[in-house]
Point group: C2
Chain length 254, copies 2
């Protein structure tokens, strides 16, 4: 065992097309049995970790919610670390559930404005409210800074444009969560109580997962499942610490 | 008469605190009598030119709406010049009246997206609609790119943040109207049917009015009314083509 802890990407590493990748459930069971701490780390900002946990459970994974780490979880970790517990949340779906216990969601007095994909809640009134809190000294956390996504009825604005709007209005720079943000990886390490040199990140994205983890001082391990392309690997200047066929071969390197 | 046409700033040049500056009405009457073409040029984006005209009339000015040139008028001039006549308008107040006759305001099919301060109409649904039109090839015109303004109930987001959001989402760069935009001055000249070398701009803002006009190839004349500060003039590298006490002394230089 060369690493004291593992970060594991979800889509393309543990599952693909709604089904577990062969051997993935066993790999997670192995880590659990051996008491090797890990976090399943994903850029998802539209589901709370409990929902992700239920979906993983339906695919056969035994992963408790506390072992799932997403941008909302990172925002909570950030608040805990900085002693801030009054926040204003602009998100959609059930993401607000991740903030239960993190403090008070207060639209009138907040130290932190947290913005994710908020859909119709990204109204003028709500954005203006966020703007005034920021002008009064609150920090801006972006759960993601994506430009847009493909909704069933067509391309739709993601959180990025609204983050950009608030940055332009206030002159502040958002702390952006999600891979490959170094801050995000560091908060995952804080959650794991481990130092970067002791941790490996396993992912299928050479840039976001492997490159991002290496830039944060961790080992980056690439799997040949999910979005892996041999060609992309050959052409890139990013050299993974290891390349394995799938998470089922994790035993070779951990 | 050294200039064939004149651009005149409104607030601080023709009036101040809701009343005409002494001699200003006479100066306008002189230009009209001498058939010297002029445009009253303002960055106002919350009132149509007819409303501005009525307000000027109440102060004693005889200025027809066609001699008032604001960012919405510039957008109309831009559309005419580029042969585009389907637009999607995100504005507030009665600004939409300036677009009557300019083509069709169509939220589903537009060549130009025009965004000003839209207040509550800057909703997710409307911004997403603008975004989709831009992704389908429409051009983006910003009537202004201000960060915020002081509303009666507190600081409030202006058009700039939403322009910035759409620029971030689409990768496009907005054509920004309003002084000191060179494009804006050029459209005013198009409206006057005159070349920059034949025109002088009279304003109280050394940077926006004088510097902006000079950068567009016109003469820049500074008045000592409105926001004029002797100190600002002394410290700046911008040298006006002339400095006059007020618009009442316009006869000295035109």
């Amino acid at each position: 065992m060369s690493y004291r802890g593992i970060l594991i990407d979800l889509d393309g590493v543990l599952y693909q097309g709604g089904a577990a990748i062969p051997g993935a459930c066993e790999a997670i069971a192995y880590l659990t049995k051996k008491k090797i701490p890990f976090r399943c780390i994903s850029n998802t900002t539209r589901k709370c970790r409990q929902t992700i946990c239920s979906q993983l459970s339906a695919m056969g994974f035994g992963i408790p919610p506390g072992d799932i780490f997403t941008p909302p979880c990172a925002a909570v970790t950030f608040m805990k670390g900085s002693g801030k517990d009054r926040f204003y949340l602009l998100t959609t779906g059930d993401v607000d559930r991740d903030f239960i216990g993190a403090g008070t969601n207060d639209s009138k007095k907040a130290d932190v404005v947290i913005i994710g994909d908020a859909g119709d809640d990204a109204s003028y009134a709500n954005l203006n409210n966020a703007f005034r809190l920021l002008m009064d000294g609150a920090e801006l956390i972006a759960l993601e800074k994506d430009r847009y996504w493909k909704a069933p009825d067509g391309l739709s604005l993601s959180a990025g444009p609204f983050v950009s709007a608030l940055e332009y209005a206030t002159g502040k720079t958002a702390i952006v969560m999600g891979k490959p943000s170094k801050t995000f990886f560091e908060l995952a390490l804080t959650d794991l109580h481990l130092h970067p040199g002791d941790v490996a990140m396993i992912g299928d994205d050479l840039f976001t997962d492997v490159g991002g983890a290496q830039a944060a001082g961790m080992a980056g391990i690439l799997v040949r499942t999910g979005k892996f392309r041999e060609d992309t690997l050959r052409r890139s200047t990013i050299v993974p610490d290891a390349v394995i066929d799938s998470i089922a071969d994790m035993y070779e390197i951990v």
